[in-house]
């Protein structure tokens, strides 16, 4: 469904991603793991078109994404969440989700300014949709809370909810459980599995938390210094000596430190 073909990204002299190729099959949960600074988020930023790779192509359903601007990507069916949560902090949870519906709402200024019945109807439908997503995330009682008042865990949920509300084909999740406690992590991993099984989304996941990755992933790509060093099923990757040397050693200390 999503194919990276020999992608290279450079910032000045620094190569953040080096000839990276991988393919995300439809309907799977595909994870990218790797130590800090391996270039994982850069991969997402290429798909979101915030960065333009110096070489290579990114095919989505056979179409090259490079020719699109960042705001056009969602119309192709790709939504994303952010590592450090990029919510609209002064809005309520409801308003954040409604803003996520932007691509599907009519934006003609004249009916809007006059608040015609068609606009009111559209707004009501949008609210119903937002409530559906909040139901799924179990945050309905927070609908009218300002997101700046929420804990980080709930903010992450809202961030994911905002990506889900447009019903994308592919959803990019950037470290969805970073900074969460084990119970919250458990909830998110259930949610990710439901995204695949019940809603039929394809999920591309970046994550540090190995337990989550091993539990939910169908396939894993391991990156280090901008390069792919291994790929396969979670079990295969876990036993790959290259990975153990480059990455899992670090993770073990990481886990031990927790």
């Amino acid at each position: 469904m999503l194919t990276f073909n020999d992608i290279t990204v450079q910032f000045g002299g620094l190569t953040a991603v080096n000839s990276l190729s991988f393919e995300v099959p439809k309907g799977q949960i595909y994870s990218i793991i790797g130590p800090n600074g391996a270039g994982k988020t850069t991969v997402f930023n290429c798909i979101s078109r915030f960065y333009t790779p110096s070489k290579g192509s990114i095919l989505f359903n056979g179409e090259d994404l490079i020719k699109y601007k960042p705001h056009q990507i969602i119309n192709k069916g790709i939504a994303r969440s952010f590592q450090n949560v990029e919510l609209f902090t002064k809005m309520t949870v409801m308003e954040n989700l409604l803003t996520g519906l932007h691509p599907l709402l009519k934006k003609n200024i004249f009916p809007i300014a006059l608040n015609l019945p068609s606009v009111k109807r559209m707004e009501k439908d949008a609210r119903d949709q937002a409530y559906e997503v909040m139901d799924l995330l179990n945050i309905t009682d927070l609908a009218n809370e300002k997101v700046s008042n929420l804990s980080f865990g709930f903010q992450k949920m809202v961030d994911i909810g905002r990506a889900m509300i447009v019903n994308p084909q592919l959803i990019l999740l950037d470290e969805p459980v970073a900074g969460m406690n084990p119970i919250e992590t458990e909830k998110i991993s259930e949610l990710i599995l439901r995204l695949k099984n019940e809603l039929g989304y394809t999920v591309l996941l970046i994550e540090h938390d190995m337990s989550l990755v091993m539990k939910v992933s169908d396939a894993v790509t391991v990156m280090n210094f901008g390069k792919k060093i291994s790929e396969g099923t979670p079990a295969e990757v876990q036993n790959d000596p290259v990975v153990i040397e480059a990455y899992l050693g670090e993770v073990e200390t990481h886990v031990a430190a927790k």
Partner: protein, 288 residues
């Protein structure tokens, strides 16, 4: 050539005022719209020393700068300090409020009638090549370059400068390192006010002394600062010089009435091509 030179003189004044703006902005992250009015008040104070107490030019000049320093420090301690973590727009509007207060007060105290103001150095024009200079103009240029160099050196190479740069980058970390951030900021305001005061006393002989005299200078200083990238001290001075010369050329060759319009057109074109200004670093891409 003569036009370019007189443009440079104005440019020096804009540059000085811009230097004060940028210094305050760089350190305290705040644009001071009241800068010009503070300079105007300082100039009036020096005029009071000159005419009421009949002191010499140098004494009045220095005393006025002392006043400016205290003035700047009071404004920071009394008002701006409390807004250190307020949204930038609030800070900006407060300085606009101060602008109106100072302007109104100066009008009350010194009246609204323009007065003549003496030049720093009197004397006949000197001819250099094909260009005439008055000694005063040479003085203006000299003092601009000296002040610019002094501040550049202070900011770059001294402990005080280091403290200023550190406070600008991260208030909390600097406090933890034992820097008294508030004092550094107060000092910056004092210095900014001094720079403005110098610009004011250089402007007054050219434009006459009145409560509105610094408004155009402030606007041009702001423009100069933006042109220079708003974070660069040399950039502010160079921006000032460019604007001074450009303005004079337009006034001479095209239309003196529309020089302001053309100057801003130039700035908008420059900013359209380089949104971060001439001396601004590359725009940082926000990491997500």
């Amino acid at each position: 050539m003569q036009i370019i030179v007189s443009g440079l003189i104005f440019g020096c004044i804009y540059g000085l005022a811009a230097l004060g703006l940028v210094l305050i902005y760089k350190t305290t992250d705040l644009v001071n719209f009241a800068q010009g009015e503070m300079a105007m008040v300082t100039t009036f104070v020096s005029f009071t020393f000159l005419s009421q107490f009949e002191m010499g030019y140098t004494t009045s000049f220095l005393l006025a700068l002392l006043f400016a320093a205290v003035f700047g420090a009071i404004v920071h301690q009394g008002i701006m300090k409390r807004l250190q973590s307020a949204p930038p727009l609030n800070q900006l509007v407060v300085t606009l409020g101060l602008f109106m207060v100072f302007n109104g007060l100066a009008g009350l105290i010194w009246g609204h009638k323009p007065a003549g103001y003496p030049q720093a150095i009197k004397g006949d024009s000197i001819k250099m090549g094909s260009v005439f200079f008055t000694p005063n103009e040479i003085f203006v240029m000299g003092i601009t370059l000296t002040l610019m160099l002094i501040f550049f050196v202070i900011f770059r190479y001294t402990k005080v400068g280091l403290a200023m740069r550190a406070s600008a980058q991260d208030i909390k970390a600097s406090q933890l390192m034992g820097i008294k951030v508030t004092n550094v900021f107060t000092a910056t305001w004092a210095v900014g006010a001094i720079l403005g005061g110098v610009a004011g006393m250089m402007t007054a002989p050219i434009t006459f002394l009145d409560t509105h005299m610094m408004f155009d200078v402030l606007i041009m200083a702001f423009a100069a600062a933006v042109l220079g990238g708003f974070l660069s001290l040399p950039g502010a001075v160079v921006g000032g010089l460019i604007i001074g010369v450009f303005e004079n050329l337009i006034a001479f060759y095209l239309s003196p009435e529309l020089k302001l319009v053309y100057t801003f057109l130039l700035i908008i074109i420059v900013l359209y091509i380089r949104p971060q200004g001439i001396f601004g670093g590359t725009q940082s891409v926000k990491k997500v």
